[in-house]
Amino acid sequence: MSTQGPTTAQPAPSGNTNRIGLTVADYKGLPSTLCKGCGHDVITNAITSAFHEMGVEPHRVAKMSGIGCSSKTTAYFLSRGWGFNAVHGRMPSVATGAVMANRKLVAIGVSGDGDTASIGMGQFVHLVRRNVPIVYVIENNGVYGLTKGQFSATADQGSKLKTGEVNDLPPVDLCTMAINLGCGFVARSFSADRKQLVALLKAAIAYDGTAVLDVMSPCVTFNNHEGSTKSYDYGRDHQGPIHELGFVPSWESPDVQFDDNASIRVPLPDGASVLVRRVDDAHDPRDKAAALRILRETDSAKEFLTGLFYLEPGKPSLHGLLHTVDQPLGTLPMQRVRPPASALQEIVDSLR
C-alpha cells in the first residue's frame, strides 16, 4: 500500500527519529511470549524497524493475522497500530474487508505456513488475485508451531520431524504461486538476514498492492534439528541471495545508495525506488520468466535462494478496481451514503 496520503514527504530522519519525528520505541509492541530464539521474533524486530524507517504513522497501521505462533506476533510490534488476530487461515478475507472499509490504512498481514499454505491456501490465492494492498509476511517454519510441530504444507519433501516422521508430500512454493497468480511483489527471505529483510519490508510497505514475503523463520522448539530444512543451520548453509538489494524511499534521493550505473533501479509510483546492485548473475526483479526459472531450479537443487524475485510496479490494486472515493468508506458522513429522497422516489416509480 502506498505510504502517501496525509503524510507529506519530509527530510530524512536524523539520528533516532524518523521523518515524522518518532523513535523506534514508538513502533514497538508488547513483549513477545514466543520461545526464546524463535525466528518469528527476529521478523517482528525487522518489521518494527521497517515501519520506523519508513516513517509510517502508527495509527494508520492495521496489523492483520490468523492463528499460530507467527500470527501472535502482530501484538509484539506497533502497539500504536490496530491489531486483528482473526481465525485460522482466513486472515486474507478480513484484511480485504478492512482495507475496503478504510483505504487509508497501511495493512500488514502476518501469517504462518500452516495458516497460509494449509488451511489458508484458498484465501491466499484470492487475496493475491485481487491485489489487495497489504504487506503479506509468511513466517515460514515448515511446521505448526502452536500445535506442537506437525508438518505444514510448506515442509520440504524428505524433511524430518524430531519424532523421526518424514514428510513425503511436496511443498507448496508460495513465491512461485504468487507470481503465477499475477502478484507484483514477491520476495523470499530468512529471518536471520535482518538487513535483506528490512530492505524488502520497506520496499513492500512502499508498494501499492499485494507484497508477498515468504520468510524462512526457524521454529527452535519443533523444527530446528538436523534433518530439518527449515532450521537456522540449514538456512545459513544453503542461503543464496539472488542479488544485493537497496531501497530508497520517496523522500530520499536515489543516488544516496548506489549510483545508477552500478545498479538497476526500479521506480515505484510513489517516488521510491528499489535498487539492485549490477553484478554478474544479479537477478533483475522485473524479469518474471527468470524469476520463475530460478525458483524452479532452486527447488530441484534444494538451494535456498532469497531476494526480491519479482517486482511489477504500477498494477492497479484493489482500490483501483473498486474505484472508491478517496476518503475511508467507514467514516463517510450520512449524507454521502444515504441517497436523497428523490432517488427513492425514482426507484419506487420504476416499480409501479
Binding site: 504513522e57 502508527p58 495509527h59 494508520r60 492495521a62 492483520m64 502482530t74 501484538a75 502497539s79 500504536r80 497500530g81 490496530w82 491489531g83 486483528f84 488476530n85 482473526a86 481465525v87 482466513r90 486474507p92 478475507s93 478480513v94 484484511a95 480485504t96 474487508g97 478492512a98 482495507v99 475496503m100 472499509a101 478504510n102 487509508k104 490504512l105 484458498g122 484465501q123 490465492v125 484470492h126 485481487r130 473498486l322 474505484h323 472508491t324 472515493v325 478517496d326 475511508p328 468508506l329 467507514g330 467514516t331 463517510l332 450520512m334 454521502r336 451514503v337 444515504r338 441517497p339 429522497a341 432517488a343 427513492l344 426507484i347 419506487v348 416499480l351 409501479r352
Partner: protein, 609 residues
C-alpha cells in the same frame, strides 16, 4: 363478448401457468400479473422453478383477490398447460369447475369431465403472428396472455401498458409481443365460447402500490441504510439481492467524478465473504453479505469471532429448503434456530424476520443500525418466497431517522473518556465503546482477537476476566431485546392465540378469517419480528391458554427458541408446521388449527383460563 354461464366469481381466482424454465414465460407471466394489478385488483405471484437453468418444469401462479389475501392458495381455477412433461399432473391437480387451457400440440383432449378442458392452437397462432422463427418459442407465451385476457376480462389496454414497461428499451420485441397478445385476444374472441366463472374486473385496491420482490426491497433498504461494503458469494435465492444492491449503488452512490461511496466484492466463497464483512465492520464500514443455507453453515466460525470480538456486520439470509443443498429453489423458514445459535461455544445472535416488502426494506436498513449499536452480527432472515416472488406493496417511506453508528469514539471522544477500555461496560447495557482503526491521536489503538481478553482488550486466560466478559455479552443480548423491532399484536383478550413470523404472516391473516367464518374461532395474533424476544412476547404468551405457533420448517424452530427462553410458557404452544418447500397457504393452517381445536378439551369445556 360471451359471458360465463354461471354467476361470475369476481376478483377471486388463481391462474397457474405450467411451462419449462428457460422458455421465456417469466415475462409473459409478469405481464399478466401486472395487468391485473393495474386494474386495481390485489394480486400475488409465486414462481415455482427448478434448480437448473433451462428445460425443467416450472409453475407460475397468480392469485387475484379482492380481499387482499396474498398468501399462496392451493386451488387453481385457471390452468395453462404448456409443458408436455407435467400436463397430466397439471390437469389432474385442479379442482372440479376449473378451466384448463392446453397447448393443442401437447394434448387435444382429456377424460376429466368436471373441468373445462380447452385445447388451443397456441403454436399455430404464434406462427401466424410472429415472423421471426427463432423467437416464436418465446413469443408464444404472449399468446396465452392474450387468450386469458379475453377470457377472464383482463383489459387489453392494461396488458399493453404492462408490455410497454417490460420492453421499454426494446421496441422490436415490444411489437412482436404486442402482436402475439392481440392474436391471442382475437383467437379467444372468435373461437372460444367458454368463459370461466372466475373473472377479473377493475377495482381500486392497488392505487399507489408497487410490485416488487423482497430481494430488491432488501437491496433498497441497504442502499438507504448506508451500507458501504458488500461481500457476497452467489447462491440461490440470495444472488439477486446482491446484484440489485450493486446495480442500485452503481446508480445512486457515485460521486460526480464516478467514484463510489460503496465497495462490492464477489468473494471466492462464504468463508471469505463473511471474513470480508468482519474485516470491514471492524474497519468502520456498514458491511453486509447475502447468502442462503449452505452459506450460513460456512459462516459459522466467523460469526462466533464477531460475537466474541464484538464486530458489527449484517448477514441477509434468504432462506431456502434445507438441510444441505436441499431444494435450492424452494422456500423455508429453516435456519431460524440455526442462525440464532450459529457457531460453537456460548453465543447467540440477533435476528430480524421481515414479513413483507415494507419490512424487508425497513429491516434491511435497520439491521446496520442494530449491528453497529450492538457490535455484533445481525441476521436479516428473509426467505425465497419473500425474496424472489413479486409482491404488491405500499411504496417505501424515506427514512426520517439518522443512521445510528453506535458507540464509536473518534479522537475527541477518546480524549474525553477517561481510561477507555475497549470492552468496558461503561453504561451498564453490556455495550462497550469502540474506536476505528486509523483514528489519529494515539489513544484508540487496541488489539482485536477471538481469544480471551480483558476489559482493555489485553490477552488473558484468566477465568475471572473470561466470566466477566461472557456475562457482559449476555447482558448485551438482553439490551438487544429492547432495541430490535417489537412484535405486532392483533386482537387481544381471547383464549387462543396464533404466533407466526416472516412470510407465514400472509397465510395466518387469511387463516384467521377462515377460522372465524368456518369454525367460529376468534384467535389473537402475535407476529414476532425479532430475536432475542421482546419482553412483551412473554406477557402475550402468558395471556393465552393455547398458542398455535405457525412456521415453515419441520423442527418447529421458532418454538424451540421460545421453549429455550420460557419453557413454562412454551408448554402451552402447539406447533403448526408446513415444510414441503412451497409457501404455506391459509388452508393448511386453518385445517391444522381447526383439527386441534376440535380435540382440545379446554375448547370443549369452553372454559376460560
Amino acid at each position: 363478448m360471451p359471458e360465463p354461464a354461471q354467476e361470475p366469481i369476481v376478483n377471486r381466482l388463481s391462474i397457474q401457468v405450467a411451462t419449462v424454465n428457460g422458455s421465456g414465460s417469466q415475462t409473459a407471466n409478469n405481464t399478466l400479473l401486472r395487468s391485473i394489478f393495474q386494474m386495481g385488483v390485489p394480486v400475488s405471484g409465486k414462481n415455482l422453478f427448478p434448480s437448473n437453468i433451462a428445460g425443467l418444469p416450472t409453475w407460475f401462479t397468480i392469485r387475484a383477490n379482492a380481499d387482499g389475501y396474498i398468501a399462496r392458495r392451493r386451488e387453481i381455477d385457471v390452468m395453462v398447460c404448456m409443458n408436455p412433461a407435467t400436463v397430466e399432473q397439471d390437469v389432474m391437480g385442479v379442482p372440479p369447475g376449473a378451466t384448463v387451457l392446453c397447448d393443442d400440440t401437447i394434448l387435444k383432449e382429456h377424460p376429466r369431465k368436471d373441468v373445462t378442458f380447452l385445447a388451443l392452437p397456441f403454436q399455430a397462432i404464434v406462427r401466424d403472428c410472429c415472423p421471426k422463427v427463432d423467437l416464436r418459442k418465446l413469443v408464444v407465451n404472449m399468446v396465452y396472455v392474450g387468450v386469458l385476457a379475453e377470457m377472464l376480462g383482463i383489459e387489453v389496454a392494461e396488458v399493453e401498458k404492462a408490455l410497454q414497461k417490460a420492453f421499454r428499451s426494446k421496441p422490436k420485441a415490444l411489437e412482436l409481443n404486442q402482436a402475439a397478445v392481440l392474436a391471442g385476444v382475437k383467437h379467444a374472441r372468435e373461437h372460444v365460447t367458454h368463459r370461466p366463472r372466475f373473472q377479473v374486473r377493475r377495482m381500486d385496491k392497488t392505487a399507489g402500490k408497487v410490485l416488487v420482490d423482497g430481494n430488491t426491497a432488501c437491496a433498497v433498504g441497504a442502499l438507504f441504510g448506508g451500507a458501504t461494503v458488500l461481500a457476497w458469494y452467489p447462491i440461490t435465492p440470495s444472488s439477486s439481492l446482491a446484484e440489485a444492491f450493486n446495480d442500485l449503488a452503481d446508480r445512486y452512490r457515485r460521486d460526480a467524478d464516478g467514484k463510489a461511496t460503496f465497495a462490492v466484492v464477489q468473494a471466492e466463497d462464504e468463508l471469505a465473504s463473511i471474513g470480508m464483512v468482519v474485516g470491514a465492520g471492524w474497519g468502520g464500514a456498514r458491511a453486509f453479505t447475502t447468502t442462503s443455507g449452505p452459506g450460513i453453515s460456512l459462516m459459522a466460525e466467523f460469526v462466533g469471532l464477531a460475537y466474541y470480538a464484538e464486530v458489527p456486520g449484517v448477514i441477509m439470509n434468504v432462506q431456502r429448503t434445507g438441510p444441505s443443498t436441499g431444494l435450492p429453489t424452494r422456500t423455508m423458514q429453516g435456519d431460524v434456530l440455526k442462525a440464532a445459535l450459529l457457531s460453537h461455544g456460548d453465543c447467540k445472535h440477533p435476528c430480524l424476520y421481515p414479513a413483507d416488502i415494507g419490512e424487508a426494506y425497513e429491516m434491511a436498513a435497520q439491521s446496520f443500525d442494530l449491528a453497529e449499536r450492538l457490535q455484533t452480527i445481525v441476521f436479516v432472515m428473509t426467505d425465497l418466497d419473500l425474496g424472489m416472488n413479486l409482491w404488491m406493496a405500499d411504496p417505501w417511506q424515506y427514512p426520517t431517522k439518522a443512521h445510528d453508528r453506535g458507540k464509536v469514539l473518534d479522537e475527541a471522544g477518546l480524549k474525553a473518556m477517561k481510561d477507555w477500555g475497549r470492552y468496558k461496560d461503561v453504561d451498564g447495557d453490556g455495550i462497550p465503546y469502540r474506536s476505528l482503526p486509523g483514528t489519529p491521536g494515539g489513544l484508540g489503538a487496541y488489539f482485536t482477537r477471538g481469544s480471551g481478553h480483558d476489559e482493555h482488550a489485553r490477552y488473558t486466560e484468566d477465568g475471572g476476566a473470561y466470566v466477566r466478559n461472557m456475562d457482559r455479552l449476555a447482558r448485551k443480548l438482553d439490551t438487544a431485546r429492547g432495541l430490535v423491532p417489537a412484535p405486532v399484536a392483533d386482537g387481544k383478550g381471547r383464549k387462543v392465540g396464533i404466533l407466526a413470523y416472516g412470510t407465514t404472516h400472509h397465510a395466518v391473516v387469511e387463516s384467521r378469517d377462515q377460522l372465524r367464518s368456518e369454525v367460529g374461532l376468534e384467535a389473537d395474533y402475535l407476529r414476532l419480528r425479532a430475536f432475542p424476544f421482546h419482553p412483551s412476547v412473554r406477557d402475550w404468551l402468558a395471556a393465552h391458554e393455547r398458542v398455535y405457533v405457525v412456521e415453515q420448517n419441520r423442527d418447529a424452530q421458532m418454538l424451540q427458541l421460545l421453549r429455550m427462553e420460557w419453557p413454562e410458557l412454551a408448554a402451552r404452544c402447539i406447533s403448526v408446521l408446513h415444510y414441503d418447500g412451497l409457501p404455506v397457504d391459509a388452508r393448511s393452517v386453518t385445517d391444522q388449527v381447526a383439527k386441534h381445536e376440535k380435540q382440545s378439551p379446554a375448547m370443549a369445556k369452553g372454559g376460560a383460563r
